[in-house]
Symmetry: C2
Subunit: 624 residues, 2 copies
Amino acid sequence: MKRQEYKIIFEPTGRQVFVLPGTILLEAAAQAGLIIQTPCGGAGRCGKCRLKVISGACPPSANCRTALSEPDLAQGYRLACHAKIQGNLVVEVPATSLFESQQQILVQATGEPMELSPAISKRFVELELPSQADSRSDVERLRTVIPPLVFNPVGIRMLRLLPGIFRRQGFRGTAVIVDGELVDVEPGNTTSLCYGVAVDIGTTTLVGTLVNLKTGLDMGVEAKINPQTSYGDDVISRIRKCREEANGLAQLQRMIIGAVNDIVDALVRAAGIDRVHIYEIVMAGNTTMQQIVCGIDPSALGELPFVPVFTDAPDLESSDLGLDINPCGKVYVFPQIGGFVGGDTVAGIVASHLDRGTETVLFVDIGTNGEIVLAHKGQMMATSVAAGPAFEGARISCGMRATNGAIEKVVMDGDLRMNVIGNTRPAGLCGSGLVDTVAELLRTGLLDPTGRLRTPDEIPSDAPPALRKRLIEKDGHVDFMLAGKTETGSGKSLLLTQRDVRELQLASAAIRAGISILLEMAGLQPMDLSRILLAGGFGNFIRRNHARRIGLLPPIPCERIRFIGNASSMGAKRALLSVAEKQSASVIARSVRHVDLSLSPEFQTEFSAAMLFPEDDPGKDCEG
Amino acid sequence: MKRQEYKIIFEPTGRQVFVLPGTILLEAAAQAGLIIQTPCGGAGRCGKCRLKVISGACPPSANCRTALSEPDLAQGYRLACHAKIQGNLVVEVPATSLFESQQQILVQATGEPMELSPAISKRFVELELPSQADSRSDVERLRTVIPPLVFNPVGIRMLRLLPGIFRRQGFRGTAVIVDGELVDVEPGNTTSLCYGVAVDIGTTTLVGTLVNLKTGLDMGVEAKINPQTSYGDDVISRIRKCREEANGLAQLQRMIIGAVNDIVDALVRAAGIDRVHIYEIVMAGNTTMQQIVCGIDPSALGELPFVPVFTDAPDLESSDLGLDINPCGKVYVFPQIGGFVGGDTVAGIVASHLDRGTETVLFVDIGTNGEIVLAHKGQMMATSVAAGPAFEGARISCGMRATNGAIEKVVMDGDLRMNVIGNTRPAGLCGSGLVDTVAELLRTGLLDPTGRLRTPDEIPSDAPPALRKRLIEKDGHVDFMLAGKTETGSGKSLLLTQRDVRELQLASAAIRAGISILLEMAGLQPMDLSRILLAGGFGNFIRRNHARRIGLLPPIPCERIRFIGNASSMGAKRALLSVAEKQSASVIARSVRHVDLSLSPEFQTEFSAAMLFPEDDPGKDCEG
């Protein structure tokens, strides 16, 4: 029973396989995950599959001698489709010999170079017509130009369509292959029309990005409030609806799928493409959002011990969810870690490469749920805290998303100066503007460390009079006027209320308490952190010094804090562009240790402590 | 990038894999396709996963020392879940350590011992309830007792059902795993209720066998006329209906699915089981039948160059076809070879092990299409001929299937003696009776070699008078009376007409011509054949000497002719009982050379020659 096997190493990737004597190089390469192109169907005629044997003996076959030149043969080139393996080899694979969809295209799309290898590939084919000399089956005929290694099963739907398609189109068209399955042969050459959508499914905000899967480039972004917010701001309210109402889950799922379809609609219209050429949607959200979007009951997340239904990424088609893209399109929902720590966290880790470094790094994703991941000594632990939607502009009296009209930056020197998105009149306050305002109020002494807005009488005597005038006493508490009626032009002034400050305190304290506990568990001090990665779906960035000023982040130098934007969206986009990133996501979801703060007696203590703003900016030496 | 790998050989199967240092034995075994049981979830407590290291060093871990006795350790036993690989090893896998569904159970079900490893496995589980200390997801919880190697993806349908099932059933029940996918968790322990149905989809006859997948034993057989025969006897008439009528395919598919459901109905009723416990149907038929049953247009099989749509076995669920078994049941349709040579031939090769031997063997499957396979020097070639349904009792004036009342054996000595199935009065003639009658008429000289029934005046003078009396002249031709009105009791006599003889001549000549051409192509004489395997769905067997007497088979000694029964049904049953047999089927379908006789100018010549019966029994020396 024992059989001799040879080791074949493929460069430049270094992938290696063991094969039986006599195996052809083409098969060995496929075993190593390298799909070599064979336009002539492996007949040994076209020479496109040539590989270079760097080390080891591999005598050229008759076909090699016919199809390759003497100098090429001398250099070690062989036809992968004919060269039989007779011993251990090291083989170099020229990029030009790889099947089109595997050619490494480096794109900057997601911030850093990556291999473009989406789950979807398209290939224009013109097949020989059947003849008495070649009466192979329709599927086999297609395999002459697309090897079985690229697509394997042909589903029953496609088997039923294929004979009609081939004979209508004269055995020509564009084969669409999704995750190794043939799903269509479109008329004509549509290879350039290949798109996907990455969606960050937030509790409060949905962000969709249209991506060209051939180039890796973004083609548009659309954001939208999660319509489920009409049933409550946080995941608990959504879970309760699923638990208590017979149709609650179906209703919430319909809402969110409708909103994703609206986003797709807007993206398709703005980009001027056909939705039928969108072949994949990747979605990342917390466990509750992901289960609802899939139509999976999240009830068990609503009570101790907070159990999700799945952790591995489920395998879905667009029709399973009613998503309005190509009817055979695929849906990828990120794997989950546990409790409330879901796919958005995994996507954030994918985007930030937290799993690859060796430094001690803290990742904080600020949303309605705050997700915190600590990477230390090659291990990761993650937790989730209920922050509420304040950072997304919700539950704040004049809060809004970071769109046109939002005050996104506030500076107080003499009087209040502000940046308004779109350079229009101010219409409200977005997350970064809120943090700025509170930080500046603390700095100028208008707000005390307990979070109480001081009365004009209580503030420091050196406070600028223009700011003093903005403090408005009413019913025993104080509000702060951001913009008067004349400035807004809407007939209404914009106020930061005492209640708004409390909302921010709660949100900030929850996240800070989570951070403190993870640091404690790892036995670390804030200064042990090489880096803090601050993620969030804000339109603009939170000022680092202000995040520290309000106590959201622990006192470490600003240069160690990096804002990385919507990491969940970025991770989703990476998964869309490369199956390798999906594999990373699976490994990440399995390896991150989930910390359930409902079990931690320290959380309430830390939370209470964090409710107090720091007396002074703990790191005001550096600029944000 | 180069990494050291170790070779691990698993006995007694001899399977080997290469793994990285530090890999645990459990994973290495899984890589070799051996699923080791781990009731404690791989915690190193239960000791059930123990394997014996026969050669190579594998120091016991702390867990090994705790869970295993000193003598066991000394003998080389290690815990697969904890023993880390540090070098090349040979490891013996005790059957008791294998996951239940992999334990080799040798059954005689299909004529010879085989490993029982159906695509379906069931496992009763009682999971720990979720707690604060263990808040893993529902799917992960199930994986503590069923490793990911046994089931991997959990489809969206199941993800939606699982949380409800688990909480209703208190995290207990029987997990049903089909082809590596979890499809149900049934209440209670239903592990013993696990059935499948193997169906031979003939152009004329359907035969279904109910099989117990736990024991490998047959539980019943039901046969039924293919209701499509109302649209014509042969595949060409069915193809024509699909080509010419908009709803032709749908109508024919509905008919055959209805008939298979009727067979399932009858099997379920006779065996007293619930159809929900039938988890797989395996079907084998010719290319036309298989495509129609799948709802795949066979039109291209109706014109040159006779192109089927698929060759690889399609992946189907019962709901894809409307088959009335478990709603998540699987359907396996055999891979096809080409032209009209379809899954029934592949199934026949699987059943007869034609692919494994080194002898020169001819396989002849007699049905409405006759399929002929020649195995010679490790190569196989196959062809299909249109024989018509005479051998199945159709298109013969008094023909019938081999059921109660059928004359299945005829001997002529002095007068005519017959065996009637069920020992009742004769009601008609089945295939073997037809061949007997014609062979005996030839022997006694009542039939001349051209196939003409002689008049009483023309027959040899020594012919028994009782036989002579049975020759009835009418309208210028002669019929032969098998049974008079008084014998049948139906008021009608049974006649073998001149036209019936012609039908048998056509059927027999087509098959014989096919045999002759394959032999010619291989440069063989009949006597070069070590064996002829005669397959067919007859209820009883054709007498070998008579098959040779009428020229159906070439002149070789009877002892080399073996009747193997319904090989297509047997092969279907083997595929039902073992996934390895399905893999064999794939290899067979790809490796058999398809011979298209429509291309062979010799076919008409051979066919004409074979229309003449041999002058004398070419091998009468031996008994049938």
